[in-house]
């Protein structure tokens, strides 16, 4: 897989990014539902640009999932960047990667700090509370 780095002239810092959250990666803590860092600790985390796709389109096939948003600025301030897989024909789809090594996993520290910035766009509480 070849990745192309996207700079902030193509996607400005204020661009809103969406990511689906499956119910398995949500936890009830401190009286509210929160996103687990487990939703972001991966090598390349897929996101969609809010300016190019609607929440309804993103969640269309995943009715039990929730949707969160954050900004391009949020991930860049944490040492990440946006990249695009060559051959990816979805204009809204990008990957959040670690700056310096695109194949390095997003750390728990980065994920913890990113979660502080996320907002619920669509919230579907899990059916099973554990």
């Amino acid at each position: 897989m070849e990745l192309v780095i996207i700079d902030d002239t193509e996607i400005p810092n204020q661009e809103i990014l969406y990511r689906r959250i499956p119910p398995e990666q949500m936890k009830f803590e401190g009286g509210q539902w929160r996103v687990s860092t487990g939703a972001f600790t991966t090598r390349q985390a897929s996101v969609n640009l809010a300016s190019r796709i609607s929440p309804e389109e993103i969640l269309g096939s995943y009715p039990t999932h929730s949707l969160v948003s954050f900004t391009a600025s949020n991930i860049r301030e944490l040492g990440c960047l946006l990249a695009k897989e060559t051959g990816d024909t979805d204009p809204s789809h990008f990957l959040v990667c670690r700056e310096g090594d695109l194949n390095q996993r997003i750390s728990k520290t980065i994920a913890t700090n990113l979660i502080k910035k996320v907002s619920w766009v669509r919230f579907n509480p899990p059916q099973s509370t554990t």
Binding site: P22, E24, T37, R105, K108, T112, T129
Partner: protein, 157 residues
């Protein structure tokens, strides 16, 4: 999923009954185990509850997170169960059991001093300590014997 609600605060025997009736991979009260059997002999209720949550993750199918995540590997599930068996939980809350985007299983304790311990899909054990929501230490351990000092970080019940 419904039976999960029924057994949350139930004694260990209720877990055993549930598994015998509903799943081919079940918990056993015996110290010896057969295929697809997890011994919970001598474990406390909190450990059994965490193990139950781990076993439930076997149900996750290909692309369960909608981003192409594979089903969890049996090795990851087995190591996670082994980890929980080594976590004395008398003074701890039951952890959240979360599958990670790249095939690991993560145990999360919240509170003023929070802790995440993950069994990665490669079998490594990584952790993050937080204080008042701020990450303070991220590293890995190589042996279950190192869990004791790690767990002392967590805010007690």
């Amino acid at each position: 999923m419904e039976e999960n609600h029924m057994i949350l605060d139930a004694p260990p025997q209720a877990y055993l009954t549930t598994f015998e009736e509903s799943d081919c991979f079940y918990l056993s009260g015996s110290p010896s185990t057969w295929t697809n059997e997890v011994s919970v002999y001598d474990l406390d209720t909190k450990q059994i509850q965490a193990i139950y949550e781990v076993i439930r993750l076997r149900e996750l199918e290909e692309n369960w997170d909608s981003y192409g995540s594979p089903p969890l590997k049996v090795e990851t599930i087995n190591k996670s169960i082994a980890l929980i068996k080594n976590v004395p939980m008398e003074d701890l809350p039951v952890p959240h059991v979360i599958p990670t985007a790249d095939g690991g299983i993560q145990f999360e304790w919240g509170g003023i001093r929070g802790l995440e311990i993950e069994v990665t899909q490669n079998g490594e054990i990584e952790y993050l300590k937080c204080e008042n929501g701020e990450p303070v230490e991220e590293s890995s351990i190589e042996r279950f014997t190192q869990l004791d000092s790690l767990l002392r970080w967590v805010s007690p019940v």
